[in-house]
């Protein structure tokens, strides 16, 4: 997470995990979001709750440039206003029906969502490419202990045994869970990438052990 005085950016997902025309659940420190990408390729983020009946919008579907709720098909634009209520096809939904939205930035294959109004852009990630995201049932502190390194503005740099240097972006998910985005030197070979994916599985196991035993600081 990258903060300044007025807001922060959270890395919520990898661009590759959100193809055009799909929606997925994600979290920021401000709560659950529905993260979606329109058919034309624009990423967008809204609160993960349809204001009609409270259904999670991340269970919904994307058609064209709109996100629709799976429950009654109410659809929303990326700006959050309701576009369509299928039960009343002739009705133009009033402006008051809307979902809260968040600013989204994509850079270096990572999707960042703003909480508040950050003045700076999300950090550039030069020379590395995203590998995968995974969730650990461990707090950031336990992951730092397991990795033997602290997370800084550009993430945590971990020198894994039997693998090359790995960069981790850590996004706390609440309930002592952490979303870990794994980034690798962008020239890595296939076997290096597979090795890194396995190394991070081991790191997660160590961090979760530390968390369970309560040894993490």
């Amino acid at each position: 997470m990258l903060s300044d005085k007025t807001g922060s950016w959270t890395p919520v997902a990898l661009s590759a995990d959100l193809p055009a025309g799909t929606v997925m659940p994600a979290r920021t420190p401000a709560g659950r979001i529905a993260l979606w990408r329109s058919q034309s390729g624009r990423a967008a983020a809204s609160a993960d709750r349809c204001p009609h009946r409270g259904m999670r919008l991340s269970h919904g579907f994307v058609r064209g440039e709109a996100l629709s709720c799976i429950y009654h098909g109410w659809s929303y634009a990326r700006t959050g206003n309701c576009l369509r209520i299928p039960a009343h096809p002739g009705l133009a939904p009033p402006e008051t029906i809307r979902v809260e939205t968040h600013e989204v930035e994509e850079c270096g294959g990572v999707i960042w969502v703003a909480v508040g109004v950050p003045t700076a852009q999300p950090p550039g990630l030069e020379g590395v490419a995203p590998l995968r995201s995974l969730t650990a049932h461990a707090a950031v502190a336990a992951i730092e202990t397991a990795a033997g390194a602290k997370a800084g503005a550009g993430g945590l740099v971990w020198q894994a045994q039997d693998a090359q240097q790995i960069r981790l972006l850590l996004a706390p998910q609440g309930d002592e869970q952490t979303l870990i985005h794994v980034l690798l030197d962008d020239n890595s070979s296939l076997s290096q990438r597979i090795a890194a994916s396995r190394a991070v599985e081991r790191l997660r196991r160590t961090a979760e052990d530390l968390q369970t035993k309560g040894i993490a600081p």
């Binding site: 997902a13 995990d17 659940p25 579907f61 064209g64 009343h88 096809p89 002739g90 597979i194 396995r198």
Partner: protein, 219 residues
């Protein structure tokens, strides 16, 4: 080909799904699994002493293991679902077909407990389910790195159908799928296949059809 079927059983759904994808028409014989416990009655025990469903019957062939049913349907009508025969791919297919039993025991056990009130240690079932989902996720991540969208190759095989139902229905057992991006992409790829059919708990991908444009009063 007659399938002794329960509409809410993910194992029965594997067979219905494989048949649909392979273009095989099944004769469905509904079994009152819940609340009637018909699978433990005399007629069905005579077919399958283990008292489980699905059961697939054709002539004097009686199959009681869903993996065998998938293989049979594929061999009869859609052999491409059995893979190319390349050693590594063949091994991966067997690996995931066996692994599917763990999904049944963990995710399926949690689902029966949370939904149909069957006995079980729900904490342990959910923990085992999460462990299995993580293995599947890791496997799919690696396949993705190799440029393959499915468990054993870039084409779907019986292994994908063996694993998909219990995974897709994991939330029924209180196990969220939110943390698994590779599983989400894989699941979507399966749901988008031609002739894919749903079961209760797996919704239609409405985005596969365009939004209807309807004027009021037209319908």
């Amino acid at each position: 080909m007659k399938l002794y079927d329960y509409v809410l059983s993910p194992s029965c759904y594997k067979v219905r799904l494989m048949a649909a994808l392979a273009g095989v028409k099944l004769e469905i014989r509904p079994v009152d699994f819940h609340p009637g416990a018909e699978h433990r009655g005399t007629e069905l025990l005579a077919l399958n002493p283990a008292g489980s469903i699905p059961i697939l019957e054709e002539g004097d062939l009686i199959l009681t293991e869903s993996a065998a049913m998938l293989a049979y349907l594929a061999a009869k009508a859609a052999p491409e679902w059995l893979g190319s025969g390349a050693p590594e791919e063949a091994a991966r297919i067997q690996q995931w077909l066996s692994f599917a039993h763990r999904l049944t025991a963990s995710l399926g056990g949690a689902r029966l407990h949370e939904m149909l009130l069957r006995p079980g240690d729900i904490g342990a079932l959910q923990a085992q389910g999460i462990a299995a989902l993580r293995e599947l996720e890791a496997g799919l991540v690696e396949q993705g790195l190799r440029g393959m969208r499915f468990l054993a190759s870039d084409q779907p095989t019986v292994a994908d159908i063996a694993c998909f139902p219990y995974v897709a229905l994991a939330p029924d057992g209180g196990i969220p799928l939110d943390p698994y991006p590779a599983i989400r992409l894989w699941s979507r790829a399966i749901r988008g296949l031609d002739n894919f059919i749903e079961m209760p708990g797996i919704h239609r991908l409405h985005e596969l059809r365009p939004e209807p444009h309807v004027e009021p009063g037209e319908v």
